[in-house]
Symmetry: C2
Subunit: 441 residues, 2 copies
Amino acid sequence: MIELNQTHNPELSSWLESANRADSDFPIQNLPYASFRPVASDQPFRIGVAIGDQVLDLQQVAHGGLLTGLPAGVINACNCETLKPLMELGQTCWSALRARLSELLSSNADAVTVDKLKAALCPQDEVEYQLPCQIGDYTDFYTSIHHATRVGSLFRPDNPLLPNYQWIPIGYHGRASSVVISGQDFQRPQGTRAADAPTPTLGPCQRLDYELELGVLVGTGNALGSPVGIDQAESHIFGLCLLNDWSARDLQAWEYQPLGPFLSKSFLTSLSPWVVTMEALAPFRAPWTRSPDEPQPLDYLDSPQVRQHGAVDIRLAVELETARDREASRPGQQLSQSSFVDSYWTLSQMLTHHTVNGCNLQPGDLLGSGTQSGPQPEESGSLLELSQGGKQPLQLANGEQRTFLEDGDRVTLRGWCEAPGSRRIGFGSVTGCVLPARPHH
Amino acid sequence: MIELNQTHNPELSSWLESANRADSDFPIQNLPYASFRPVASDQPFRIGVAIGDQVLDLQQVAHGGLLTGLPAGVINACNCETLKPLMELGQTCWSALRARLSELLSSNADAVTVDKLKAALCPQDEVEYQLPCQIGDYTDFYTSIHHATRVGSLFRPDNPLLPNYQWIPIGYHGRASSVVISGQDFQRPQGTRAADAPTPTLGPCQRLDYELELGVLVGTGNALGSPVGIDQAESHIFGLCLLNDWSARDLQAWEYQPLGPFLSKSFLTSLSPWVVTMEALAPFRAPWTRSPDEPQPLDYLDSPQVRQHGAVDIRLAVELETARDREASRPGQQLSQSSFVDSYWTLSQMLTHHTVNGCNLQPGDLLGSGTQSGPQPEESGSLLELSQGGKQPLQLANGEQRTFLEDGDRVTLRGWCEAPGSRRIGFGSVTGCVLPARPHH
């Protein structure tokens, strides 16, 4: 577990004024990474760190000699097109780079340094992003017991929460090729479903949904056959981002037995560009508990560290902007809010369980947290839950109703952390818009 | 669908005598590809084609000027370490290379050519292999209705075959990172299971199994959002190999609901080194049928081509060699035999269904056929079926019994095609041995 250090000091401010605004997602205490380039350019992507409303180009920082003294691997990684070379280096290097960036960007930096850095800034609204790295394998977990119970009661009214749920972090392999960066719009998927018909038919999904999730990017891997112990697990995690696991509920209900979700999920998964490091999240850790009437974790998923601060309080929110909102230049509305602190399983439990059979994780693998729904129905992270399986339409503030997503709907997920005595940090957002289905030939 | 041509002529023979033996897997009509190097060397891997008991080094063939006149992409691909650059080129290039190799290796080749080629040969028993390419995404299907029905009756006695099975090719995302090349032995996985106990426990798998499958290697991909039509599907397939989907049945039974198999499969999947091209399989195509009392395929999964020759008659067999067999220098024994011709779904239906929602396949993606079990119980492709869920031990010829795999057991899968009027071709084999579980810390 990463200790608090000078980079977390809430009094720390930056010479860049936009980073010091109370509502900025990217104060100097955050320092998340992304792969970016000037918008609509044909320049190669490079990696950068978010500060205020700017991106600091780490290639230019390295070329300017401002990383001198850091391990050579760190400097090399700052010259690469994706985050993967940095992700592979491990916690010591990640911490060293963060500490240096914190110094460079702080109000205490000298004028020569500040001048050099100003030349390496690019406004965030003038850049475009790609995935932080090529995703190797993608595994999606199911760590919210509130989501699992509500969804289970819709799919299996007599048996909502299966016996394994409280014993092991349930997860499944997802599709890596269709993981895309925030902003990519997509056509409503076609699929086969049997609702309200004697035989199944192929057609556009009629119950299109989002899922409010966190994405976990694996930094250092483990060898095939070598499980990762619970207290080592977090050191393998480079950082977290926001993940929208778009879901076709009608396809899912028809296809998911006995081998799990397949085409209902594999048409698209959207990631936010900024990866918030585990170190930046250190001030927002929380105890992880099991009530005495619940099953206690098996030994391999338990430790004093997990109990003391295995949880992370990351607030999450979903916004919906409809086509009519856009035409009327109205802002969208928030549909729900929840926190990862309510997750039934921790990040370390997910990762340790994943490797207990010897499965190898690799740098650039992606783990999804599963939909994060809170204990209250209005804290649900999917329309499936909010509309009770489509039976209770949501009344939107703009006068429209929704059970599932309609063409033209834009969904935006946001995340942030706040705690007394700490500077608020944010994840930015992940967004995508539903386009009409393409006709099937 | 690929037409028969001169490369399939059963009268064709090679100047390499070992290729002309009736029992060779690799006559001149086959010409499968692999990535190889001299055994235990530190040389880079390169790609080769199997002929008789030799590997022909395609890098040397290209350097020798013997591929002159072929597209530049083909010649470049022959200088690469994996098959991926060749796989990306598409059917026209694959056919051109096959036609040239058939000419070069035929008895009609001139003496100068033969001398050059002999210098590019390496005995198969002096090489080692790596995966044909880095696997992108791995999807495992479930295309044998006989397997699905037998396994379903063990997991869900009241409901063995689910309603979706006869309408869509059921599949799920598998773990790509733990796909390994034939010959890699592995420690029995640890996992959590609840059999015969009030609460689950972590321990070594007690019901370890193999699965007799074919692996399908995707050559050319499709763009995200662009489904592949049924009559275009096969042109995206580079070729087939053997696949052992090692399975931990006790972990599977405990974890698989509701999201499907996860740790019960992700500890290891073994591939055979040789990839047999779709063109080599052309003589072994067979009609694909549905009896009138079964659901007929939906339009997107149906076509006259599929009906006429959508199936492929690939014979498959499993052999078991126990530790005691090895100590006594006894050969192993065959446990079962089946054919992919009995598959309920075709290769094209698997691929088209996979993309109907817009999911993108990429060069180097792997599809598993699912366990291929024939209609008779003794044609089952897993111990789970052969031992009726562990209730009926198999009596082995060596006096031992098996319900599931024991430490020291070596499982070898083989495949071949034979048909009247055609030269028999083979897939070689995929093998792996079970080592004792590592103690869990």
